[in-house]
């Protein structure tokens, strides 16, 4: 660093040019629009499937079987969203997105699919309905945002419905895992015992209990994060509206 000119009393101000947010390119935007439209449609199919099955049977019981295949397909498809973040066409954190998607996929495959006995539980319907409504709103939100035509209603729904749907989904998930516990213990599902060649053991039953416990610190953090987002997004819009 060269010596400063003597006599200057003002410090040099570093120019902070306004940072232009680099959005996805035209091709990426087109792909994302298609992706989000397809996902919205997929979850609508699940929603319609649930309603039709309910009307046909006349009870809430055992509706899982009517939407099992599209649920597995579209929930697993959400894994692509991790890729979107990793590649950079979506500005979210890979870790956060990965965590959210993997927990959904875990519940779909490692709990509900793997433990047949819980599939007829009502708790499954609880989280499936919560997921369905949430995802329909979320994917249509993204679709409209990408097309720069976001109706206020969708934005409002996205940041308001979660207040009920989030706890509803979590309750359904926890009850389902809890219901699976005795069957996992009895059959030793996904568990490895000693002795074995690789000197490793894994108790899936204990793992599921630890998963349930992990909801205690994680759920409030995510919930309050969404509430803060809600304040930021919805209150600012109101400010502009009053101007």
């Amino acid at each position: 660093m060269t010596a400063p000119a003597m006599g200057t009393t003002k410090t040099t101000h570093i120019d902070v040019a306004p940072k232009k947010k680099k959005g996805p390119g035209a091709l990426a935007t087109a792909y994302l629009v298609i992706y989000n439209v397809v996902m919205t449609a997929g979850w609508l199919v699940i929603a319609v499937g649930l309603v039709r099955a309910y009307l046909a049977r006349g009870s809430y019981h055992g509706l899982y079987y009517s939407i099992e295949k599209p649920l597995k397909f579209f929930q697993t498809g959400a894994l692509l969203e991790i890729l979107h973040c990793a590649v950079g066409i979506v500005p979210s954190s890979v870790v956060l997105t990965g965590f959210q998607v993997l927990s959904r996929v875990f519940l779909t495959w490692a709990v509900t699919h793997s433990v047949r006995e819980v599939q007829s539980e009502d708790s499954v319907l609880l989280f499936v309905s919560a997921w369905t409504i949430t995802e329909i709103i979320r994917y249509s939100f993204y679709t409209f945002s990408l097309l720069n035509h976001l109706p206020y209603l969708i934005k409002w729904a996205r940041y308001t419905f979660f207040l009920v749907l989030y706890p509803m989904g979590v309750t359904g998930e926890l009850l389902t895992i809890y219901a699976a516990l005795p069957y996992v213990q009895k059959t030793g599902l996904y568990s490895i015992t000693l002795p074995n060649k690789y000197n490793f053991s894994f108790d899936y039953h204990t793992f599921l209990i630890l998963t349930m416990v992990s909801y205690i610190p994680l759920f409030p953090q995510l919930y309050f994060h969404m509430m803060r987002q809600r304040k930021k997004v919805l209150c600012h819009v109101e400010e502009f509206k009053t101007e």
Partner: protein, 347 residues
């Protein structure tokens, strides 16, 4: 009257006073070659980087004062912000200035404005290292000696019947003892401190993995290597020892690059010690040897948790090695191009 007295006085003076001895003619003062430098003191104001509040105003700061000295002065007015937790910068969002930076060499006027950011509670690197390494050493031994409440009561205070388990305990303990001694006597740290929360993070990692590995290796139902048996264990031991010596050699070589108490950075080169010849191909051979040691230990114990620990450690060390390699390239224009960060030619 006065005038007379006055005159008289002067007269008297001239009578009483000795004949004025004329001072030697003043030697011609050579015209001063350098203009006498007026010391221009600096004024330093320190603002909070986020709120821009004026936190401290220091006047009469020497132009050759270092940032470290300014931090000490700031600490006097704000005793809870000791120097190691202060980040002083020219720009609120800019990089931290170094303690060695000198005030008058910075692009500031005679009234310097600095921005302050609190780095949070700090803890010394030495403390963190000693704590995170003492844990695995002690925990592993607890599992080795089968302290109660870990395994079934009938196994309390027994030892494994497999000789490889005793060997593994010796290797593991040697490794962490070596690390502790290196922390105390070998390493020369660039930074004095790190954020306090790191000690919890680091200890969870080291202690957690050590307990997990030790549980299986010292388990009554432990199965010694079956694929190639005794040959495998002997080979693994050779790899382990080779890499331990290599790792130590690199630590010594890096220490010798830096005089005591300094923070200089130089390009490391191979020395007379053959274990350092790997510097020809790799920027961070200490990590290469560390990976080798743990691969050896994995082979020796044939234990999946050890393999996981090796894998996770490898990923972390690769991240560090790449960062170090990048900063070497940035700092030294003549950095040897053949070198890779951690694995020769590969990574």
């Amino acid at each position: 009257m006065d005038a007379v007295v006055f005159k008289g006085a002067s007269h008297k003076e001239s009578l009483l006073a000795p004949a004025p001895v004329l001072p030697p003619p003043p030697a011609k003062r050579p015209k001063a070659k350098k203009a006498k430098k007026a010391v221009v003191f600096f004024e330093v104001e320190i603002l909070d980087a986020k709120t821009k509040d004026k936190l401290c105003f220091l006047d009469k700061v020497e132009p050759n004062a270092t940032i470290g000295e300014i931090k000490s002065m700031f600490h006097k007015s704000h005793p809870h912000w000791y120097p190691t937790r202060q980040s002083i910068r020219l720009d609120p969002k800019g990089k931290s200035l170094k303690d060695e930076d000198i005030l008058q060499h910075l692009p500031v006027g005679t009234t310097a404005t600095f921005y302050f950011r609190d780095l949070g509670a700090q803890i010394s690197w030495v403390t963190v290292f000693l704590t995170e390494y003492a844990g695995p050493l002690l925990l592993y031994l607890m599992f080795y000696f089968r302290v109660p409440f870990i395994y079934a009561p009938k196994y309390d205070f027994t030892t494994s019947k497999h000789w490889v388990v005793h060997l593994a305990c010796m290797c593991h303990s040697f490794h962490y003892l070596k690390r502790l001694l290196e922390t105390l006597f070998v390493h020369r740290f660039s930074h004095g401190t790190m954020p306090l929360r790191n000690i919890f993070k680091n200890c969870t990692y080291y202690w957690g993995f050590a307990a997990w590995m030790a549980y299986y290796i010292n388990h009554p139902l432990y199965t010694p290597p079956t694929i190639y048996g005794e040959q495998q264990v002997k080979m693994a031991l050779v790899i382990f020892l080779f890499c331990q010596i290599g790792n130590f050699s690199i630590h010594i070589a890096l220490r010798n690059l830096r005089p005591p108490g300094s923070k200089t950075r130089k390009i490391p080169y191979p020395t007379k010690n053959p274990f350092t010849w790997i510097f020809l191909l790799v920027s961070c051979p200490n990590y290469t040897y560390e990976l080798g040691s743990w691969l050896g230990f994995t082979l020796m114990t044939q234990c999946l948790p050890v393999a996981f620990f090796t894998a996770v450690g490898f990923i972390q060390m690769t991240v560090w090695a790449k960062g170090k390699h990048r900063s070497y390239l940035k700092e030294f224009r003549d950095y040897p191009p053949l070198r890779s960060p951690i694995l020769p030619f590969i990574l």
